[in-house]
C-alpha cells in the first residue's frame, strides 16, 4: 500500500511588533508587510501550512501577536503554527485559543524540557512542535552526531547533541520537529541535507526542514535525500522570486507528491 500523503510546503513569516520581517542570518531585518495579508496571500497561493515566528523583543508587545493570530485564524482555513517567546503553558493556551493549531517551543524547551510533556498532556502531542536550532561542530565525545543545539540565534552553544535531543523530545511528547540549520539559514544555497536525514530517520514523528531554501531544487533535495516530511521556505517566496505553485509544479514534475488542488 502506497502513501498518498503530500509533502508540505510551508512559508515562514517572521513577525516583530505585529509586522512581518525576513531576517538574513538573524540580522538586518526589514519590514515587508502585514502578517494577516501575507497569510491570506499564501493561503490562496496554495501554501499547505503557515508558520509564524514572533521575534518581538519586549513582553509588553506580545499581546499584539495574539491579536495577529486571532485575525489570521478568521482569514485562512489551513493549519498554522506560532513560535517565538513561548515559555509557559499559559503562553501556549493563549496562542491556541486565539486560533493557532500548533505552537513551537525552542529555547524554552532546551532550558526546561518539561514544557514539552506538560504541553502535550494539556493540549495533545499534535499541538507541540519542537523547534531546534542546530550548528555543525564536528563529532566529539560530548556531541557524537557532530551537530549541537544552539540558542539565541546561534550565539549560545548548549553542549547538547542535536540527535539525542530530537529523540528525547519525541519521548517527551513532541508531535513534530522543525529543524533549522543555523549554518544554512539565510544562505539560499540549500538545506543541510545530512543533518535533516539524520534526524528524520531516527525519529518517528514528522520533520520540517528549515534554513537554506533558495531554489525549487533545494526543496526537491531535502524532501527526497533529506527525508524531510515538509519544507519551510521564506525569502524565495517573500520577495517574489518564486511562487508556491511554481515550486509545487517543479516538485510534481520531479516525482515528489505535493498538493496541487486548493
Amino acid at each position: 500500500m502506497e502513501s498518498m500523503l503530500s509533502k508540505r510546503i510551508i512559508p515562514c513569516l517572521d513577525v516583530r511588533d505585529g509586522k512581518t520581517t525576513k531576517g538574513i542570518n538573524f540580522k538586518d531585518n526589514v519590514d515587508i508587510g502585514d502578517p494577516v495579508e501575507m497569510a491570506r496571500f499564501y493561503y490562496e497561493a496554495g501554501a499547505d501550512e503557515i508558520v509564524f515566528y514572533d521575534i518581538t523583543a519586549s513582553s509588553e508587545k506580545r499581546e499584539i501577536m495574539i491579536d495577529v493570530v486571532r485575525r489570521v485564524a478568521e482569514t485562512i482555513f489551513i493549519p498554522f503554527s506560532v513560535g517565538g517567546g513561548i515559555r509557559t503553558l499559559e503562553d501556549m493556551r493563549k496562542v491556541l485559543l486565539a486560533g493557532a493549531e500548533k505552537i513551537s517551543v525552542n529555547s524554552a524547551a532546551v532550558k526546561n524540557p518539561e514544557i514539552i510533556s506538560k504541553g502535550a498532556e494539556a493540549f495533545g502531542n499534535q499541538c507541540i512542535v519542537l523547534g531546534m536550532d542546530v550548528k555543525h561542530v564536528g563529532k566529539s565525545e560530548k556531541i557524537p552526531s557532530g551537530y549541537e543545539i544552539v540558542i539565541n540565534g546561534g550565539r549560545t552553544f548548549m553542549g547538547i547533541d542535536a540527535l539525542k535531543w530530537a529523540i528525547e523530545a519525541e519521548k517527551l511528547g513532541a508531535g513534530e520537529i522543525c529543524l533549522n540549520s543555523i549554518d544554512a539559514d539565510g544562505t539560499c544555497e540549500g538545506y543541510e541535507l545530512s543533518l535533516t536525514s539524520l534526524i528524520s530517520e531516527n525519529v518517528g514523528i514528522p520533520v520540517i526542514a528549515s534554513g537554506g531554501a533558495g531554489r525549487p531544487e533545494h526543496l526537491y533535495d531535502v524532501l527526497t535525500k533529506g527525508k524531510a516530511d515538509a519544507a519551510l521556505i521564506a525569502s524565495m517566496v517573500h520577495y517574489g522570486t518564486y511562487s508556491i505553485s511554481g515550486i509545487k509544479s517543479y516538485l510534481d514534475e520531479t516525482g515528489v507528491k505535493v498538493r496541487k488542488s486548493w
Binding site: 493549519p79 499541538c127 525519529v203
Partner: protein, 209 residues
C-alpha cells in the same frame, strides 16, 4: 442554529470560525438544552480519547449526543469526535459512545512501513479521499482534492456499508464514515481550505432521510 459541542477537547473555535465564514450561524456549547434545541450538531475535537470520554460523561453529553442521533438531526463528527462515536478506542483503552459499530485502532510502524517507506506517526498533513460510496456531503469532491489530517489512531467501522471514503497511509483506513444522520470525517474540514469548507457547507444544508 448549529451547535458545536464543547467538551474541553482542543481548539473548537476554528470549527466555529469556518462555519461562520461560510455564512451559517453556530454556537459553541456544552449545555444539553442548547444541543436539544439545535437543528444540527458538529462534534469536533483534538486530543486523547480517554480524557475526552471523561469530559463527555461528566458533562452528560453522551446522553445528549445519543438523543440527537436518535432524533434524526444531522450530526458531523470531526477527528476525535469521529473516533469517540465508535464503540471502543485503543487510545487509553477507552470505551466510547458506540453509535457506530467498530473500533479505533492505533497506527503501527510495522504495518504502515511494510513497503519500506519511512512513514511517520502521527499521520500529519494533506491526503486524498478515495470515494467508496456517493454521499451528498461529498458531492463537490474532486479526485485531486486533499484534506488535512493529524492523528495517530483511525476508526475501523464493522459494517463496510458505512464506509464512504478511505485514505491510504501505508494501510487503507476509513477517512469518511456515514450512517443514517451521522457523517464523520477523520480529517479536519475546517482546516482543509476550499474542499474542506465545501464539505462543511454541504453538511449545513444536508437533509438526511
Amino acid at each position: 442554529m448549529i451547535a458545536i459541542i464543547d467538551y474541553d477537547a482542543g481548539n473548537l473555535t476554528s470549527v466555529a470560525r469556518a462555519v461562520t465564514h461560510i455564512g451559517f450561524k453556530c454556537i459553541v456549547t456544552n449545555k444539553k438544552e442548547e444541543i436539544d434545541r439545535a437543528e444540527r450538531i458538529i462534534f469536533p475535537g483534538v486530543g486523547a480519547a480517554g480524557s475526552a470520554m471523561k469530559s463527555i460523561k461528566r458533562l452528560g453529553l453522551d446522553v445528549a449526543i445519543k438523543k440527537a442521533f436518535s432524533s434524526g438531526k444531522p450530526i458531523l463528527g470531526i477527528c476525535l469526535g469521529t473516533q469517540v462515536i465508535m464503540e471502543y478506542s485503543e487510545e487509553n483503552d477507552t470505551k466510547c459512545l458506540g453509535i457506530i459499530g467498530g473500533k479505533v485502532l492505533s497506527f503501527r510502524f510495522d504495518e504502515i512501513r511494510r513497503n519500506g517507506a519511512g512513514l511517520k506517526i502521527p499521520h500529519m498533513g494533506w491526503n486524498r479521499i478515495i470515494l467508496q460510496k456517493k454521499h451528498f456531503i461529498l458531492s463537490d469532491l474532486k479526485e485531486e482534492d486533499e484534506f488535512y489530517f493529524v492523528h495517530g489512531y483511525y476508526p475501523a467501522p464493522d459494517d463496510p456499508a458505512q464506509l464512504i471514503g478511505t485514505t491510504e497511509y501505508g494501510i487503507q483506513f476509513a477517512s469518511v464514515i456515514g450512517y443514517k444522520n451521522i457523517m464523520a470525517t477523520q480529517f479536519h474540514p475546517e482546516k482543509s481550505g476550499r474542499p474542506g469548507l465545501s464539505i462543511l457547507k454541504n453538511f449545513c444544508v444536508w437533509n438526511p432521510c
